[in-house]
Symmetry: C3
Subunit: 352 residues, 3 copies
């Protein structure tokens, strides 16, 4: 693995090796104190994401490496009048690894075409956020011994959540996971995710209530429901209580349940849940740091490498308005097949 753009690019064997490394770092952090000594990570956050940014920064620092970069585009002139390619060429001349967060879908893939050093996708718009998935899987594997065979409840806004979709997609690498999809009808998982689960032979059921299914769960993955997602605000007011996790609702759950959340939470988990040993969302954030340490350990120590020249794009092929190819016109017109359909190789949107 040279870059990490999409969790799906990794084989099960690669993930297992990465997890073993991560687990070893958790057990013996002092053994990794100089693992990236002399290495420098570029942290390019084109939109603010404090949690992810802090997690990557501390991951690198705890390996003995160092970090430079920007935390949002306003505090930087990089974005101004320069192509993504030129920024990446420049930055990859200074750094040993590039960590990148953008509002544009496919931007990390685009950057990887031009970078002399490995690129890590720290979130590209609503598209991918592979290290969040790594944090989630590390938490479950570390605390439950593995992911195979678990019953996982996903609760909240399952329609718009990038975290949830990435998590479901990652499950294709595991066996016999059962999904309980808990959401208001209007925020249910999109049709293509349902198709995906059917194709992969995953067991799933969709419900609107949390309390009835809680006793069956090994993992309850909570997500935020944003008021703005409801067409009818009254509908929101009627529904929101159903999806708030309280200590009382936890009474009927298993003793070894894991309550997870990508954070930040607003009020979808009551504060009194925090002191319950089953609440592991703050641990999950810390596990995310260790997972990123394992990843940086692998990637930041790779040699510099001149990327091969790629075709220069002459016209737009992708019609997704949030795709990186819309603003960076020189990108090559790369296509990939997803489920028999020609898709943009940057943002995965079907080509018309």
């Amino acid at each position: 693995m040279r870059h990490l753009i999409d969790f799906g690019d990794m084989s099960r064997a690669e993930w297992d090796a990465l997890y073993r490394r991560c687990s070893d770092i958790i057990d013996r952090p002092e053994a990794y104190r100089d693992a990236c000594r002399g290495k420098v990570s570029a942290s390019l956050f084109y939109e603010p994401s404090t949690r992810t940014n802090f997690s990557f920064q501390t991951a690198m620092l705890r390996l003995g490496g160092s970090v430079f970069g920007f935390a949002d585009p306003n505090s930087s002139s990089v974005a101004k009048g320069e192509t993504l390619k030129d920024t990446v060429k420049m930055v990859s001349g200074y750094a040993d690894v590039v960590v990148m967060r953008t509002p544009w879908e496919g931007a990390a893939r685009a950057a990887s075409l031009y970078s002399d050093v490995p690129v890590i996708n720290a979130g590209d718009g609503g598209h991918m956020h592979p290290t969040q998935t790594m944090a989630d899987l590390t938490t479950i594997t570390r605390l439950r011994g593995g992911v195979d065979g678990l019953s996982v409840g996903l609760c909240g806004d399952l329609k718009n959540g990038r975290t949830v979709h990435s998590f479901i997609k990652a499950m294709e690498k595991f066996q016999d996971v059962k999904f309980f999809l808990i959401s208001p009808r209007e925020l249910a998982v999109p049709g293509y995710m349902r198709d995906f689960m059917r194709e992969q032979g995953m067991w799933f059921t969709e419900v609107t209530g949390l309390e009835a299914v809680i006793p069956q769960l090994d993992v309850l993955y909570m997500t935020r429901i944003q008021k703005e997602r409801f067409l009818d605000p009254l509908e929101y007011e009627r529904n929101k209580g159903i999806y708030i996790l309280t200590r009382r609702k936890l009474d009927r759950a298993r003793d070894d349940l894991l309550v997870m959340h990508p954070l930040p939470r607003v009020d979808e988990i009551a504060v009194d849940v925090d002191d319950d040993p089953r609440a592991v969302y703050f641990k999950q954030a810390r596990f995310g740091m260790f997972a990123r340490m394992a990843l940086l350990y692998d990637l930041a120590n790779q040699p510099r490498m001149d990327p091969e020249a790629v075709e220069i794009g002459r016209e737009r092929v992708c019609s997704n308005p949030r795709c990186i190819t819309r603003t960076e016109g020189y990108l090559p017109p790369l296509v990939k097949r997803i489920g028999g359909v020609d898709c943009c190789a940057f943002c995965d949107a079907p080509l018309r």
Copy 2:
């Protein structure tokens, strides 16, 4: 000592030990070059304070540790839709020590209830700024051999200055300090500070002129007078010259006087004073860095520790509008006795 929230929490013996450490760092900085190697400090500045921020950052870097964080809330999404508790839980999962500056009184105390690692108060509104006091005491002790028995002039706005109040309170740990309080009448020390000095048996006198008392001083602590503090702007214009320290006024001072200032200065000390060997305000800033090194040396090397669960607050008990309990509703209703009065344990304001 697990956290540093208030200088008053420290015993004289603890301060003396900290100063000895600090003094050793000043004498042998190279011996401490790896003292915090592998340790990471979180620098959470919810309001900008370049001087304090730089001082803490360089203190950590000079111990071989590293730093991450934000320098003001706008360049960060942390403040957005997340409780202080959640931010602290997250950040203390990544860091070995948390340095925190906020506009809210009592915020560092609040953070210490939830943090897995030590919290240092780098200023919480107008309430406390314990490391400024450490910088002041280090300067005096290092340059005059000790604090006991000195005659200290405090000059400028003694009504509103957090620095001045903290300094006076810290003097309860020392013997026979004499205070010359030099200010316009409308900016004299508040009544409760006067009460405090009387209770502690401290010698003090209040005067409006600087020149008459200068010959008697071992230390002259200058502070800024802000024009806005005067009800009558003409009064300001009439008065300001009295409190400006010039080379000429210094003529009658002792040869071993220390002229101090917390910085930034505006024009309360004339530029020609800078070249006088008695002007130690720039040294004072540098001593502040060494004092913070001593503090970080102690705190950043402590083991992680799950804090004990605390009561969840259900209603506001403190009526101070700047108290952290006003915005963070889940904080426990902690009370402490100050001079026989029930006070908020976060901001020290008397409860009604």
Copy 3:
């Protein structure tokens, strides 16, 4: 050399030594991994300049040192109500070297009068940018074995470009360099640069077309033409194509030509040039990092030193509205002779 304010302050021997150090760092970077261990660089960017800032930061990090500072004045309260002198006194108390970028001409020279540690000018308005020149010379020397005797084309806006003027001035240290100055007539080099080249006995010719001279060049230094520089926008539209470097124009150039650019480029070099081995502008940025490593290696390891007291300025002597002496009134009225004329020693403008 204690500070680096102006490339011209360096002798040829000093530059040669610096280049040898730089070249050794490029060959054996691992030998310098701890060369600045325990040293701290202050990065004071009073205006954003991501490229220069990143280059200096990574240079220090790759020497095992560390960095603190601000990336633009808005994210800092330093600029607020404090003189440059006081900021420098404070910061030089914390740091081992100060890297400074300002919009004010002569600011780095001013800072060097008060700093306890070496000051590096990372650009002071339109005045000087010595480390850009170092990056340029390193690129040429490393890739062509030397600078003496080369034919150098400078193309674009030669009237307003600080980079170009610095480069030409630096050539006084080298032998037999031939200049091809390629620009629209209204953006030709200013008269005083032409005088300078004549005084120094430099060979130069001025042309308006790029294609005719390309075959004769060893180095083609491209710069950006800003539309706003043209009095007549139609003139810009008519001209811009002439100065855009394309793969086709390169067909007639030598095989060992170096195409350089200070970056960021907008469209003055077509994207398809990037894959030509003669395009070295991204390498040039990386060489800039190595050149800054050599400089920091020398300067950050120098001992602290109390600067001698300087005269306090009482009135303005320089009439350049962008000169640092206009806003920092206490600066001494220093004068230097340039070509027999009395000039401001900060900004080099002739005094009236």
